[in-house]
């Protein structure tokens, strides 16, 4: 990991020579202004730099010919820092997405519409074929289930449809059915 450091003071190249003498490897050195130099160093050298040239904002009692500042990261490093700062948010997002995708494949509720008198029988039939709340929904056995519901006495029409996480079973009685 590297850090971008801005050094400020009169004749800033002298500060570079001092840092180099202390064994600090300076990379991408650029003169930003007449009294400012920007460079990159390894993160491990940061403490050493602040020991040589402290930031007077934090050590107002100590005189130093040069002041150093660590600049906020940019580019890929900034993206990584932001990502790390909001790790909880990203994790929450991923969990939410996973739960949404999972809940989409599950049946959370069964609703029987139309002839509600058949609700109990319909739920029993669905249960026999593994269609129960909090279980995954498959269309494999829909035809068999529909046929079984239609076999119920007086049922003339039946349809199974998944709306969100609700399984809607529409049951209609036959028009000329005698009860």
């Amino acid at each position: 990991m590297t850090e971008r450091v801005l050094i400020e003071g009169m004749m800033p190249y002298r500060a570079l020579n001092r840092l180099r003498r202390e064994g600090i490897c300076l990379k991408n050195v650029q003169k930003v202004q007449k009294n400012q130099i920007l460079f990159t160093v390894d993160s491990k050298d940061i403490e050493k730099i602040f020991a040589i040239y402290p930031n007077v904002c934090y050590n107002s009692g100590k005189y130093t010919p040069y002041t150093t500042r660590i600049l906020p990261p940019t580019g890929r490093k900034k993206a990584w820092t932001t990502f790390k700062k909001r790790a909880g948010l990203w994790l929450g997002g991923v969990i939410f997405l996973a739960l949404t995708l999972l809940s989409d494949t599950l049946v959370l509720r069964i609703r029987v519409s139309g002839a509600t008198a058949y609700t109990q029988s319909v739920i029993e039939i669905l249960g026999r074929h593994g269609l129960e709340p909090y279980k995954p929904y498959t269309t494999e056995r829909v035809d068999i289930i529909s046929a079984e519901i239609l076999r119920l006495d007086g049922v003339g029409f039946c349809s199974l449809k998944k709306v969100g996480s609700t399984l809607v079973v529409e049951v209609q009685t036959a028009p000329f059915h005698e009860k």
């Binding site: 190249y13 020579n17 180099r20 300076l26 050195v29």
Partner: protein, 86 residues
């Protein structure tokens, strides 16, 4: 340094008292045995060795690496001139 040995075969290799330099016109300049760095800007960088000082001139110059006697100057390096010394 193997890099220097390789480049020493080329015309861009310079050696002087206590220091060596490789000059790649319009690309870069590498120095070994650097004692200190003088004032620098995008057009000119002064490099001090134990026995002499050199000025690197060009356009868009920047220091790629400066560590323990090694200096790498990047940019359109046009000239190297001796400022003082042997």
């Amino acid at each position: 340094m193997r890099l220097y040995d390789e480049l020493a075969k080329s015309d861009a290799f310079l050696a002087f008292t206590g220091a060596r330099a490789i000059f790649l016109p319009l690309r870069a300049a590498y120095f070994e045995g650097v004692k200190a760095l003088g004032d620098f800007s995008e057009q000119r960088i002064e490099v001090c060795f134990s026995a002499c000082s050199i000025a690197v001139e060009g356009e868009g110059l920047s220091i790629g690496k400066y560590t323990d006697g090694d200096l790498c100057v990047l940019g359109k390096v046009r000239t190297l001139s001796l400022l003082e010394g042997v």
